[in-house]
């Protein structure tokens, strides 16, 4: 990889990174702030059953600081079963150097086991070239993987795969920690500036959509000596809805020290499945 192509890839990655930073947006459809969050369950979700959780974070770069995004935090409701789900049955362990250089090479998902995948998503960002001021929209895919437990937190690894126009793979570290009620935990993704990129372009994350427990996830287990693929259970919904619905909260932090936060409330899914054979 030449220096130029590496830089182009890095730009793409940066854009993807920015996207990564995003967390969630849900009932925020009517919100007017520069950061909006929305969270939604499967359309067929039922209380007491597992479901996928789609979290969308939208950022309005025109109303935010130009400083790079450095951290995204998403707090999820206490009643949701993330640990009790079937997700993250394996651990993705990467060297610290991967997260320092951000732009990484190697196999998809860094060669981490598929049973570590907790979610898939996509990110959109605007890459502004420093010399020409040209704004280039970048699209990337995102994968969220479970990392090892360390210092009282569950580690996370986030891979951002630049798709178009820039390619390249970015690796970010994060973690899940316990949170005070009404939240059950906080997902944090740290996004340091990609070394060697800051003078070339600035990347502004516009949207991040992450589906935890995505239907696209495939795990593998041994059954009668054979490797069998299956879809792991997603986030466990409680049998009763929390009063006022499921509350989410997101906070984004920038390199200049500024922060923006937003919240959303997701309505309760249906409680019981309709009886078979008509009304």
């Amino acid at each position: 990889m030449t220096r130029t192509s590496r830089r182009a890839a890095a730009l793409g990655l940066l854009a993807a990174l920015c996207t990564l930073g995003g967390a969630a947006s849900a009932s925020a459809a009517r919100a007017t702030g520069p950061v909006r969050l929305a969270a939604a369950f499967d359309r067929a979700a039922r209380l007491g059953d597992p479901t996928a959780l789609a979290v969308t974070l939208r950022l309005d770069p025109r109303r935010l600081t130009l400083a790079p995004l450095t951290e995204v935090r998403l707090a999820y409701p206490e009643a949701l079963g993330l640990v009790s789900s079937g997700l993250g049955l394996a651990t993705c362990t990467r060297p610290a150097s991967d997260f320092a250089q951000v732009l990484v090479e190697g196999p998809l998902l860094g060669g981490c086991p598929p049973n570590a995948v907790m979610g898939y998503g996509e990110a959109r960002a605007i890459v502004r070239m420093a010399q020409t001021a040209q704004a280039i929209p970048e699209y990337a895919t995102v994968a969220l993987l479970a990392g090892p437990i360390a210092q009282g937190k569950l580690g996370l690894v986030v891979y951002v795969e630049g798709q178009r126009p820039f390619g390249g793979q970015l690796a970010f570290a994060g973690d899940v920690s316990d949170a005070a009620p009404p939240y059950g935990g906080v997902l944090t993704v740290r996004m340091p500036v990609i070394p060697g990129i800051q003078d070339v372009a600035t990347v502004s994350l516009v949207q991040l959509r992450l589906v935890i427990g995505s239907h696209a996830i495939r795990y593998y287990r041994r059954q009668h000596g054979r490797r069998v693929a299956y879809r792991p259970d997603g986030i466990e919904l409680p049998e009763r809805c929390p009063r006022g619905g499921f509350r989410f909260h997101a906070e984004v932090r920038f390199a200049d020290g500024s922060r923006r936060s937003t919240g959303s409330v997701t309505r309760c899914p249906r409680a019981v499945a309709p009886p078979a054979g008509g009304r």
Binding site: L80, V83, L154
Partner: protein
């Protein structure tokens, strides 16, 4: 005059006797208390084998069997946090009564088979364990695919 003096003396004696009796009675009650409720100490050690019966959000409901000092059945309600699992576990020994404890466990890894350690506090029970108090520790494994849990526990209780 002499008669009045005798009456005063007998009153003083009666009052002194009453006070003495009262003091003796009070002392008797307090000394009798321990014998009426002689606390027994029990060192518990055993293994519980649990399986998932129900899930609701971040809460797991499990039941199973226990072997060791108090063989019988076990039920547990476990609230899963990111790095700590809190819950209530109730043992139903074959000999009768029940023993309830609160537990706090910490997973040591994040994989399909999770090893954990923790501590527990005995919070009473029913029957012979209705006044039980104590504490202990445990370790074990949990299969995060099936939520089958094996726990080795040690506790000391007074009841």
């Amino acid at each position: 005059m002499k008669r009045q003096s005798l009456r005063r003396e007998s009153f003083v004696v009666m009052a002194a006797l009453a006070a003495l009796l009262l003091a003796l009675t009070a002392g008797g009650v307090s000394s009798a208390a321990p014998s009426a409720h002689a606390a027994r100490r029990l060192n518990l050690s055993g293994t519980a084998y649990l399986h998932l019966t129900r899930k609701s959000g971040n809460t797991l409901y499990e039941s199973g069997t226990a072997t060791g000092s108090l063989p019988g059945t076990v039920r547990a309600r476990l609230v899963t946090g990111v790095t700590v699992v809190k819950g209530t576990v109730t043992f139903y020994p074959r000999g009768g009564g029940s023993l309830t404890l609160t537990a706090r466990g910490y997973p040591q890894s994040a994989a399909t088979i999770v090893h954990f350690t923790g501590t527990c506090a005995v919070r009473g029970g029913t029957g012979r364990f209705r006044r039980a108090v104590g504490s202990g520790s445990f370790s074990g494994t949990a299969n995060r695919r099936t939520w089958a849990v094996t726990v080795h526990a040690h506790a000391q209780i007074n009841y």
